[in-house]
């Protein structure tokens, strides 16, 4: 909704836009300049942040180049640093979390958008939003004292007994590791999937549903085969948002993942994520190369989340436009 720019006739006989001096006198120009400075500071801060990340990682970029992303040795003594285990860990835990969160989240969003009466839907959405507000360290706290023992004593053995032939569920069971981190992350990102998907589903025009129902489809069929595909872009967007959140999570992950730079097919294995190793080693990296390698990891994380957030936004905007464009009959 654009602000209308009307021209206000000043005290003098001048019609049309006011002169600079009259604007200055009436305080508008000052207001404009002051607020501009604040807005500009946001841009400056962001530029400075990107600059610091880039400048601060110059040593490993020159020394290792792209090999940084292909080597898996992280050895401070011999000054060898490779990012592979951390990228692997970050991606694996994020994938596990999405595998759990996406079905649950979309299912819940469908329920809230399609089935639940408005009041219940709003109340449940309220609780989901509160869930999104729970800080990471509290998830970590629960992870350490509740989830890890649960995993180690019940869930991991059960998985090993039933699905142990798969390489994912082999090996010693510590309670901590990729799977545990993935589960904790799943709980953290579900609210994002639910709230955005619910909004997008709600904005699907009614006539789409009605058309499907009038052709004889069941409620589920109209939802799953018509409404959800219509909102597909927005739902994808919510998944990207969730993914971006999962990638950047630090505290909950470092408290349950085991902090070992290991690449393993087994989900029971301990691992490491980019955010976790930065948190553990930044303040103690003694050699410049070590320190800057950590910064480079930060840069990688930044770029990943940047791309994902951008894509997410595009998709969500596109989805809501589509719904709105076709009219809400």
């Amino acid at each position: 909704m654009a602000t209308t720019t009307t021209t206000v006739p000043s005290a003098g006989p001048v019609v049309g836009s006011r002169s600079f001096l009259s604007r200055l006198r009436e305080g508008d120009e000052i207001a404009r300049i002051i607020t501009f400075l604040f807005a500009a500071s946001v841009v400056l801060i962001t530029l400075l942040l990107v600059f610091e990340l880039w400048q601060g990682s110059v040593l490993p970029r020159h020394k290792f180049g792209f090999n940084f992303f292909r080597t898996s040795v992280w050895d401070p003594i011999f000054d060898q640093f490779g990012a592979l285990p951390f990228i692997y860990g970050t991606l694996v835990t994020a994938s596990v979390s999405l595998l759990i969160a996406v079905p649950l989240g979309i299912g819940a969003a469908i329920f809230l958008a399609e089935l639940a009466p408005a009041r219940i839907s709003d109340t449940l959405e309220f609780f989901i939003d509160l869930l999104a507000a729970v800080p990471s360290v509290i998830y970590g706290l629960l992870g350490v004292f509740v989830v890890i023992p649960l995993m180690r004593d019940y869930i991991q053995p059960a998985l090993k007994n039933t699905l142990g032939f798969l390489p994912f569920f082999q090996g010693p069971m510590y309670g901590m590791g990729f799977l545990t981190a993935g589960i904790v992350l799943a709980i953290m990102v579900i609210p994002y999937i639910i709230s955005v998907s619910r909004e997008v589903l709600l904005s699907v025009p009614r006539d789409q549903r009605e058309a499907a129902l009038s052709l004889g489809s069941t409620h589920w069929e109209s939802t799953w085969k018509v409404v959800v595909p219509f909102a597909r872009a927005g739902i994808m967007g919510s998944i990207f948002l969730a993914l971006a959140r999962a990638l950047g999570e630090t505290m909950a992950v470092t408290m349950v993942i085991g902090n070992a730079p290991v690449i393993s097919a087994s989900l029971f294995s301990p691992g490491y994520s980019i955010a976790a190793i930065i948190a553990n080693e930044l303040t103690e990296a003694t050699s410049d190369l070590h320190y800057q390698s950590l910064i480079e990891l930060g840069l990688v994380l930044f770029l990943l989340t940047f791309i994902l957030n951008g894509l997410a936004r595009l998709l969500i905007v596109a989805a809501s436009q589509r719904g709105r464009g076709m009219g809400n009959a």
Partner: protein, 342 residues
């Protein structure tokens, strides 16, 4: 409502500013190895000498060395003495040197959580190195079992727990390993952060203890007091004379006995795998890292005052927390060295 909020903000801001100079706050950071005794010391010292508050953050020796070099803390602490490169880096950055001051003697013990085993196990150097290299993967492996006849060791997988942060305790442990195993020295080496072949990482002595306590079939290495305070079993280690020795005040002091008369001027010395009877082989001094030159005279005096107190009254608190006192010769030498600080 708005006015009240603004007023509150102003009051709080002023309070913060006014509060600024109430006490002299000195910041230090570093090793988790001596954290129990340091936290006791700084607390007691503050009670008897209220002028200075010494805030010590147990973030690991690696961070202690880095932060004192960066100048973001007033002093550091480490159980792995700074090497020549690190000393040079400090000197280049600050123009003056950084000094090591030993505070207590401690021991790093192998602690474990094996279902059904409540006694102290005997560990040979080969067993320990093998476990941490990943070569020995089950508790009932012959290398371990042969030293522990009569103990029912289960056929469970060993969960190795090491440090995820830069640690002086790791330095002591890997220093010992490098001395008893050429294999370890080649493959992994010694340092505050190494490339561990196997295992999970815990942050600080505290986390490793917590992890061992909570994880069945695990083994980790921690400073003695952590195992004692948390009542988790720890093992005896075979020393250079072939005896299996448990870490305690006597065996740790024995390890330092030889070194105390030959202590170098900069106090950097390793006493792991020391020769002698009744020596616990994984013992070590732990050091405070104090800059030689202070720009702030009150901070300098406060720190010198603390070190003087620590070398006298402070030593009396050590044994209660299972740290061994410094040998008398070392104390005398340190008091002289204190004069170097300007």
């Amino acid at each position: 409502m708005k006015r009240i909020a603004v007023l509150l903000l102003v009051v709080l801001a002023l309070a913060g500013v006014v509060w600024a100079d109430s006490a002299l706050l000195i910041n230090g950071a570093g090793a988790t190895f001596p954290y129990p005794i340091y936290s006791k010391w700084f607390d007691e010292y503050h009670k008897t000498n209220g002028a200075a508050e010494i805030n010590y953050q147990s973030v690991g020796s690696g961070a202690g060395i880095k932060q004192v070099t960066e100048g973001t803390v007033d002093f550091g602490a480490t159980d792995g003495p700074m090497n020549d490169d690190q000393l040079k880096a400090y000197k280049d950055k600050h123009g003056s040197a950084i000094l090591h001051f030993p505070t207590v003697l401690g021991a790093v013990v192998p602690t474990y959580n094996i279902p059904g085993v409540t006694t102290s196990l005997n560990f040979t150097p080969d067993a320990l190195v093998g476990i941490f290299l990943g070569r020995i993967s089950k508790w009932n492996d012959p290398v371990i079992a042969n030293a522990n006849k009569g103990v029912n060791l289960p056929a469970n997988d060993i969960v190795v727990i090491h440090r995820s942060d830069g640690s002086g305790t790791t330095y002591i442990w890997t220093d010992y390993f490098s001395k008893v195993s050429a294999d370890w020295k080649d493959k992994v080496g010694k340092g505050t952060s190494v490339n561990w072949p196997v295992g999970l990482g815990g942050k600080g002595n505290e986390n490793v203890t917590g992890l061992v306590k909570q994880t069945p079939n695990s083994v980790g290495y921690v400073e003695l007091i952590y195992a004692v305070q948390n009542k988790i079993p720890y093992g005896a280690v075979k020393n250079a004379m072939g005896e299996f020795v448990m870490a305690d005040l006597a065996s740790v002091s024995a390890a330092a006995a030889a070194a105390s008369t030959t202590m170098p001027d900069d106090f950097r010395v390793s006493i792991t795998n020391a020769k002698g009877k009744g020596v616990y082989p994984i013992s070590s001094f732990t050091w405070l890292l104090i800059p030689q030159k202070f720009t702030d005279a009150s901070k300098r005096d406060a720190i010198k005052g603390f070190v003087t107190w620590m070398l006298a009254d402070g030593q009396n608190y050590a044994e209660n927390l299972s740290y061994a006192k410094l040998p008398k010769e070392v104390v005398a030498k340190e008091l002289t060295a204190l004069n170097k600080i300007q």
